[in-house]
Amino acid sequence: MTTFVILAVLIIASAVFVVSAPRTVYGVIGLLANFFCLAVMYLTLDAEFLAVIQVIVYSGAILMLFLFVIALLSSGVRPFAPGKNRLPNVLIPVSIFAAIAFAGLMFTFAHTSPITEHASDVSSIFGPAGTAGVFGSVADFGRALFTTYLLPFEATAFVLIIAVIGVIALAGDVDPPRKGPGRRAAPGKPREPILKERV
């Protein structure tokens, strides 16, 4: 329970930091802390393989992509105009939705019977990690992935191929960038001098 509380506080604090960071780079660092804490929480939930995947894919691949894009965009990008914070506009609808969602959550938990632990497809949750038959082990995960859930796995490969083709089509240098209005600021119209938020 102590572990859960510490991790939950860290996760929520880093998540708040991600969406409120003054610069995007700081937000990426906060997201890194968030993903690591979530990986530790997955470990406490006996999901060892997913904890490792979380660190490799999220912290390793996705955040690296974010950092590269920030490094690419931070040179020459027009800074944001200040004074257009949208948080007050969305605060009331978001609060209403959050209240409804949490009320539904509490209602659901109050009206469903507590889960009794029962082993459905595994024999036990205790034992050396990685051994077949232990809940969350890589052996069981791999067997389930390549037998029962083979079709979703193949669909995932298809999704990744489509993503690769889409990224090449979007960001690849297939056609030269157009010269037109919007590429440069209009003459006689100075850029926003106030730097409030930079990428």
Binding site: T24, L31, A47, I62, L65, G76, G136, F141, L145
Partner: protein
């Protein structure tokens, strides 16, 4: 599991809420994408908590597929951000209104 399932689901809902606020309240597309990543992770936490509560592997498989789709989504989203920047010299989502009807 010593910690009740409700705590995990509540934490997941809180992370989802924070991510959603980040998506609708910020004007930086990179921060919006990071908010979406937070929402993916909230869903993953719910999947894994339920998988642990029911001792069923299916939640782990689904979380794995969600991670894969999240990676694809991040790649596509960042490519769109780069393409928009190359076209219009800005990344402020309020200034990107070419498709507004």
């Amino acid at each position: 599991m010593a910690v009740p399932l409700m705590y995990y689901i509540t934490l997941s809902a809180l992370i989802f809420l924070i991510g959603a606020v980040g998506v609708v309240a910020r004007r930086n597309p990179l921060v919006m994408l990071m908010g979406i990543e937070l929402m993916w992770n909230a869903a993953n936490l719910a999947f894994i908590a339920y998988a642990r509560a029911y001792l069923n592997n299916a939640g782990h498989i689904f979380a794995f597929l969600v991670i894969t789709v999240a990676a694809a989504e991040a790649a596509i989203g960042l490519a769109i951000v780069v393409a928009v920047f190359r076209r219009s010299d800005t990344v402020d989502v309020d200034d990107v209104a070419a498709l507004r009807g």
